[in-house]
């Protein structure tokens, strides 16, 4: 099973979630969904930083979408930052760039919540 680690920090009033590991894919989305549920208990503005995540598949996209949905339901949002090239291309392929705001740098994503 591929590993994915989730670590979150509060930065400038935004919850920054670092996803790292071999993959967010069909083999571990179930665990990812369970582990991320509690994130939405206290927060609603998120930046997911994906720079250390090597691989995402369609199940991984599904899991990220459901995070976005949860944040929307709370009146917040999930923005993505620092996507590796292959992940970025996949997001564009399935037009996820229309649903997610995607930033090159984490700071820009955080700032965008202020404006």
């Amino acid at each position: 099973m591929s590993n994915v680690e989730v670590r979150s920090e509060k930065e400038s009033g935004v919850s920054v979630v670092y996803l790292s590991g071999q993959a967010l894919d069909a083999s571990n989305v179930q665990r990812f969904r369970t582990e991320t549920t509690s994130l939405f208990d206290a927060e609603k503005y998120f930046v997911f930083v994906l720079r250390d995540l090597k691989f995402v598949d369609s199940s991984g996209i599904g899991a990220l979408l459901s995070c976005l949905r949860k944040a929307h339901a709370l009146g917040g949002s999930v923005k993505l930052a620092e996507l590796p090239m292959n992940v970025r291309q996949l997001f564009e392929l399935v037009r996820m760039d229309r649903l997610f705001e995607i930033y090159d740098a984490k700071e820009k994503a955080i700032d965008s919540f202020r404006s």
């Binding site: 099973m1 591929s2 071999q22 993959a23 894919d25 069909a26 083999s27 691989f55 598949d57 369609s58 199940s59 996209i61 599904g62 899991a63 979408l65 459901s66 976005l68 949905r69 929307h72 090239m85 292959n86 291309q89 996949l90 392929l93 399935v94 037009r95 996820m96 229309r98 649903l99």
Partner: protein
């Protein structure tokens, strides 16, 4: 225990339900067959007492309906008959009734008969839960056996050997058999291959196989340390050493091992065999286009502890093919109980002798599947095909088998990455091919193999001029991709899935879904170099 009563006569119904409640049963009451059937479907009563004669749906029809459905538990069916109506009990039994009670009924008799009914229903429940537990255990055992097999019993072919090309394959049977094989590279020109089969089935056989393989490797190591580089320990000395270590233990366990130990030596252009009761090796001699069967006369490992083992040699030439295999190959059985046999094996080797070893392996697997017509493997299927001398430094085909589980995904991605690099695909093409194959595999696991999570996916790779072609082979229902797969998926946050097929379509240069002659389904994905 809950009882359902059905009778169209109100008085009879009341008397019966009152009696049963007095006997402390929970009772549901219906006044027609139709009503009873609806109640039964909702509650699956353990005991049903139905009046034989009723308008519309009578007791017999109700019995047939209940027996005809496929719910898991057993319901005990009692028909109420009348003294005054002549009824054929045989017809009742044929409709699925278990017992009969004559109206007006005697309370003591009714109580006794319900006692029997309860006992039968309980026994059936106990039997069913025992069966379920056994099934869980059986599955666990298959999984443990399968894990031992993949991790301990099998091996990857050596990569730094240029004088020989090895194509191994193992498909575990549902029971796990204890087949094993491994390679030992003395130098790039001298390689030992052994393949063995521990007697018996299940985890015990798998563990014996694993222990034997370890002992053999240890024997190689021990004897190597006391010999010079030029003077390698002979195959017969290695086998003899291992037998001395293993024999007593194997005898104590009432087991033994058949083994084929072969040394391929490209310096002397000779192959040396120690055959310990194993299946005959098939050798295609490229110099005269002839096929030979090779076998020795040694006892299996574990028969006699001080057995002296003998070896024999044949000279080898560029292009020669050797097929070393377990009896699961030649003893694969057709539905009419005909064995696959060595003649068919030889025929395939002759037909495809000039192809790459993995291509031969692929063809062999295909023919055997046709022969067994998709029947479950009775024995482990283990084959190592060896070709002498690589005519080109590049492989033409690769074939590997993975368990159909999500845990295999990362290993498969890794394999696709390595193969793509070998074929000269550019970075972005590699990323795309990896994802396309990954999505296809995830689909197979989720849809075709979701039923029981048991099965294999075979990955057959072919190097083509334009790039790389990867064929995923699996058993399962036919898959026809929907027309809409070529258009971009509709985007909204309400959906979580359905991108998989689109990703495959977009990232593959060509993709084909189909069925092979052998009945195996396949997804073929082609990717160009750039």
């Amino acid at each position: 225990m809950k009882i359902l009563i059905v009778d169209d006569e109100q008085v009879s119904r009341m008397v019966l339900s009152r009696t049963l409640r007095a006997l402390e049963y929970m009772v549901d009451v219906a006044s027609s067959g139709k009503e009873a059937w609806e109640m039964y479907q909702a509650h699956q009563h353990s005991i049903v007492i139905a009046d034989w004669v009723m308008p519309e749906m009578d007791g017999l029809q109700l019995c047939e309906l209940i027996r005809g459905q496929s719910h898991i538990g057993y319901s005990y069916l009692i028909l109420l008959t009348s003294k005054y109506e002549k009824q054929d009990r045989l017809t009742g039994l044929k409709s699925g009734a278990d017992d009969f009670i004559t109206k007006p009924f005697d309370r003591a008799e009714l109580s006794a008969r319900l006692g029997i009914a309860e006992r039968i229903v309980q026994m059936e429940q106990q039997l069913r839960s025992a069966n379920e537990r056994l099934e869980v255990k059986r599955r666990q055992e298959i999984e443990i056996g399968g894990n031992i097999q993949r991790s301990l019993l099998m091996a990857r072919p050596p990569e730094d050997v240029k004088a020989f090309e090895f194509a191994p394959m193992n498909l575990p049977s549902s029971q796990v058999d204890g087949d094993f094989f491994d390679f030992f590279v003395h130098r790039p020109t001298v390689v030992d291959v052994f393949i063995g089969d521990a007697m018996g089935k299940g985890i015990a056989a798998a563990l014996i196989g694993a222990g034997s393989k370890t002992t053999l490797l240890r024997s190689v190591g021990t004897l190597l340390s006391s010999s010079s580089l030029e003077n390698l320990p002979s195959p017969k000395d290695i086998v003899q050493h291992a037998n001395r270590t293993l024999a007593t233990e194997l005898m104590r366990l009432d087991s033994f091992i058949t083994l084929e130990y072969v040394r391929f030596d490209a310096e002397q252009m000779v192959a040396t065999f120690v055959d310990c009761g194993h299946t005959k090796i098939v050798h295609w001699d490229s110099t005269c286009n002839e096929i030979h069967e090779l076998s020795g006369t040694n006892f299996p490992i574990g028969f006699i502890s001080d057995e002296t083992y003998g070896e024999f040699s044949v000279s080898i030439a560029e292009g020669d093919i050797f097929v070393i295999y377990s009896d699961g190959v030649t003893e694969a059985m057709s539905p009419s109980k005909e064995l696959f046999g060595i003649e068919r094996l030889k025929h395939i080797i002759r037909e495809f002798a000039t192809e790459s070893p993995f291509q031969i392996l692929y063809r062999l697997r295909e023919r055997i599947r046709k022969h067994t017509q998709d029947g479950e493997l009775q024995d482990d299927f283990t084959v190592v095909i060896v070709r002498v001398g690589l005519s080109t430094a590049e492989w033409q085909h690769q074939l590997r088998v993975f368990p159909s589980r999500l845990e295999s995904l990362s290993e498969i991605r890794h394999m696709v990455g390595t193969l793509s690099e070998d074929c000269g695909l550019v970075k972005i093409a590699i990323d795309e091919l990896q994802l396309a194959v990954h999505e296809a595999i995830a689909n197979i696991i989720e849809h075709a193999h979701a039923r029981d999570g048991v099965g294999e996916i075979e990955i057959f790779a072919e190097r083509i001029t334009e790039g790389l072609e990867i064929k995923l082979l699996y058993e399962g229902p036919e898959f026809v991709p929907p027309e809409s797969v070529t258009s971009q998926p509709v985007i909204n946050t309400q959906r979580d899935g359905g991108f998989g097929l689109y990703i495959i379509q977009a990232y593959a240069d060509e993709v084909t879904y189909g069925t092979e002659d052998s009945g195996l389904r396949f997804i073929k994905i082609m990717k160009r170099k750039s």
